[in-house]
Symmetry: C2
Subunit: 327 residues, 2 copies
Amino acid sequence: MFSTEKLLKLINNELVVQTSELAGQKPGRLYEPVKYSLEMGGKRLRPVLLLMANNMFTDDIKDALPAAVAVEIFHNFTLLHDDIMDNAEVRRNNPTVHMQFSENNAILSGDAMAFLSYRYLLKCSSARLFDVVHLFTNTALEVCEGQQYDMDFEDRQDVSEKEYIEMIRLKTAVLIASSLKAGAILAGAGNEISSSVYDFGINLGLAFQLQDDLLDTFGKQNTFGKKIGGDILANKKTYLLIKALENASGEQRKKLEKWMVPKAFDPNEKIEAVLDIFNQLKIKDLAEQKIDSYFSLASEILDAMPVEDKRKQPLKELSNKMLGRNH
Amino acid sequence: MFSTEKLLKLINNELVVQTSELAGQKPGRLYEPVKYSLEMGGKRLRPVLLLMANNMFTDDIKDALPAAVAVEIFHNFTLLHDDIMDNAEVRRNNPTVHMQFSENNAILSGDAMAFLSYRYLLKCSSARLFDVVHLFTNTALEVCEGQQYDMDFEDRQDVSEKEYIEMIRLKTAVLIASSLKAGAILAGAGNEISSSVYDFGINLGLAFQLQDDLLDTFGKQNTFGKKIGGDILANKKTYLLIKALENASGEQRKKLEKWMVPKAFDPNEKIEAVLDIFNQLKIKDLAEQKIDSYFSLASEILDAMPVEDKRKQPLKELSNKMLGRNH
């Protein structure tokens, strides 16, 4: 079985080959931002998951490598465009593409990345590639829907927990789930087990996004790679804020809402004030419980899969690592 | 044989069905701009060409209809994003999507349209659909390259005629050519003849784009649908400006360059002054000659195709109409 480290090396090697090919392509202003964004690093989570799911059903993962590259490029495409829409200036401790180049560059190179991801996907030689192209296309649309809900929520104060979970399912979980499922399909796994792989991915993805929300507020700047408290400053309707608004007393709610109105404020003061209310309401505990529940669901689905235990081991370890669990 | 009018009706009916389906989909803010952009009308040139090429080789064009919808949606996706990048406020006498909704909407709904076009394409039931998905993906990347060259040219005063033709080949001609070729492939046409169909499309597309340049400066507002003189005001490196800079005397060149520097000017005065130099240099004639030469090439390729004359007739008529030739 391939370990996370082995797969990561495989993927990064392949990305080096592909980006140096892109580097020579013209027009340079189109392909440089693509290279910049892919060389920025990142955890390469989706391609690793894809290959790992593939490896659950086959020892020869070589044929799935182009699909792994495809999902990583697709994921970076979404980051380019989301960062414009969210006015994000920093990503992985680097300037975002629209800051480093220009907004037009981020739009157009993002578009090119969307099509590049199809180009790589189409390189897979599998009798069932067609199913994967279908899955990939539907997933891409769902990711757009998720981003739209995320933006819609900015103008709303009444987002429910259910709506929020549906949003992160679309925005984050489906791509993780589809990467896993694509790996399974490309290895020739049957429909039923491929669906289980997908469901595992959805629950893992939900837990992972909730964890990301948690880290944005309660994490550490240098390990997280983004500015801590960014969600608070932007009044982002995260699980934390939604639960806080739901559980707040009249006075706490008034305070929270007061901080969400002004456009000019001292950022540190706002973060401290909102954090104070989060702490009073034990929001961190609530979020951790929610993360645990999705993570348990994911683990149960993986455990129940009719696959040799040792073949599940890498996925088990990686999902533990993704959620910061060391066992 | 299906006439342009018949095909147009077929496509518009299908688009009505598809857009009303989209209208019901959530989130509304994602799909409304898609509907808005598709309902704005337009000549539906690419889908008509696709079905016409299909009809050259088969009487049953039904199976190619989803591909026709796909290329129209793809084309509109490029318009949404190009209009942001070009700061265009009006399209087909309507506000552009980023003006009517927001820039974020135009980015994200544009993205969704790119994936929707794949979704429609994948509905075609043809043994050779795979070749079409490949073609479509490569074409999409070329279109991005063309748009990048177009933007690159904004900062340059030394764009050559050759560079310009390559830019419009990528930005405009390849999509027209690929639409035609896709129609041929889906009908089961062989490789050689499909390549001829593509080459016909490239030459037709080049003539068509040069014609568009010409109309932007020498056309009439209400029939053209965009503001006349927009290219002049934006210092766009069109065939007209490139030939004018190439052929200008020292004094004419100085005048042209003087008008390209200031950010604030009286628009009518600028249009008049630049037009005056274009007229002195007979730029309109030069452009018309160039259009004629590509159009003749296209016609020769079509004439040489080993297909019954009556099956070529609709394409012949439509290409004449596209270039404003009434014979």
